[in-house]
Symmetry: C2
DNA sequence: ATCATCTGTCCGGCCTCTTGACATTTGAGG
DNA sequence: CCTCAAATGTCAAGAGGCCGGACAGATGAT
């Protein structure tokens, strides 16, 4: 069920992703060399292809893992609030702040030779959206079961897309964006408020 | 040189030894089951045989690893003293104290069904002696180069055997044994003292 | 135009782990 | 004393994954 081989497999994947992450942060997507990833992990180049298919697969896997870690942090911020509106505001602010400091986001958006990488947040952003949506949705349903699933999903979707847009195209500071979004969505969520 | 496969191999060995260690501490040598070690590590029974040869090999490997860890601690105590006699006393006391608290030593000496295990400290103790001697000798030569190698070796050998004897057959408390040994060997080492 | 570098693919060989079977030993219980 | 169950130790066949080398194609620099 959880054999040594399974754990080894996961570890291999994880170490490969570590190496790839470092390479991308250092030199953007174009600076990512399959051979470097392999050598730095102490494995053959072929093994990297076996694991991820191609270079694009490596980038996707790095981004998915990073997204999941990112969401853990955002969900933790969500969990600290009992009122849904407060949660929304805090989570949005946290997400935007985190993104601004995230080395991988910086590399994807501002490194020369990362046009392809940035597409994972825009035209090819389904994966990031899906992973994020799934995690946020599950969390919201668990913490605010009184909100109808459909309403929760709608809110998550709206907020998520607005946040992603602000990551790709920064505007006002995080707190301002969070306040704005909270204000706009408050009427929609007013019946579920938990005033302290 | 340090491929992923190498690291995995070391990790496998280490996890097997962890499982074996726990089993021995819990149930003595007789309570050690090859099948349990394998299953607990998530590996087949055959793999355990491939790695250690037989059950006796497992025990030996566990003891060698534990000895090396033990010596790291003792050598750290040695390193804190500038005077060789002080080092001797402090190291002896530390070794006896550590041994008294060590779960594996307890299991080997007092668990029912560990007669064979206890032999690794007595009639079949060459391995433990050699490993310990090697580590201590190297450490002494590095820290007190002014002591002739032959004298250093002799002192290490005498002290080591006395300490091992006191572990197997406890007598006075650690501090008393340490003081006694230091007093006896002081004349032999007097010319190398570094009085503070 | 040429050369070097990188991606992506294929394949044969090798090594390790797995699986199942088997003989042998040992201890407990009828 | 005999039997059964459990554990050790050995063997061989099979599978899976990694390695190493080779190759074609694309790309960019000189």
């Amino acid at each position: 069920m959880d054999s040594f081989a399974d754990r080894t497999k996961r570890r291999l994947r994880d170490e490969l992703l570590d190496a790839a992450y470092d390479a991308i942060v250092a030199g953007g997507y174009d600076g990512l060399r399959m051979n470097d990833v392999a050598r730095r992990t102490g494995v053959s180049r072929q093994t990297v292809y076996n694991e991820f298919g191609d270079k694009w697969g490596v980038l996707q896997a790095v981004v998915v893992r990073e997204t999941e870690r990112f969401l853990l942090d955002v969900n933790a911020a969500l969990a600290e609030q009992s009122d849904p509106i407060d949660g929304l505001r805090v989570a949005v602010e946290r997400a935007l702040t985190l993104a601004g400091d995230n080395p991988l986001v910086k590399a994807a958006l501002s490194q020369p030779g990362s046009d392809q990488a940035s597409q994972l947040l825009t035209t090819r952003g389904q994966q990031v959206l899906e992973v994020s949506h799934q995690r946020l949705d599950a969390h919201v349903r668990e913490h605010w079961p009184e909100i109808p699933p459909e309403d929760a999903t709608s809110c998550v979707d709206v907020a998520l897309r607005v946040v992603l847009s602000h990551i790709v195209t920064p505007g006002p500071p995080p707190a301002a964006v969070a306040a704005q979004l909270a204000r706009v969505l408050t009427p929609f969520l007013s019946s579920y408020r938990r005033q302290v």
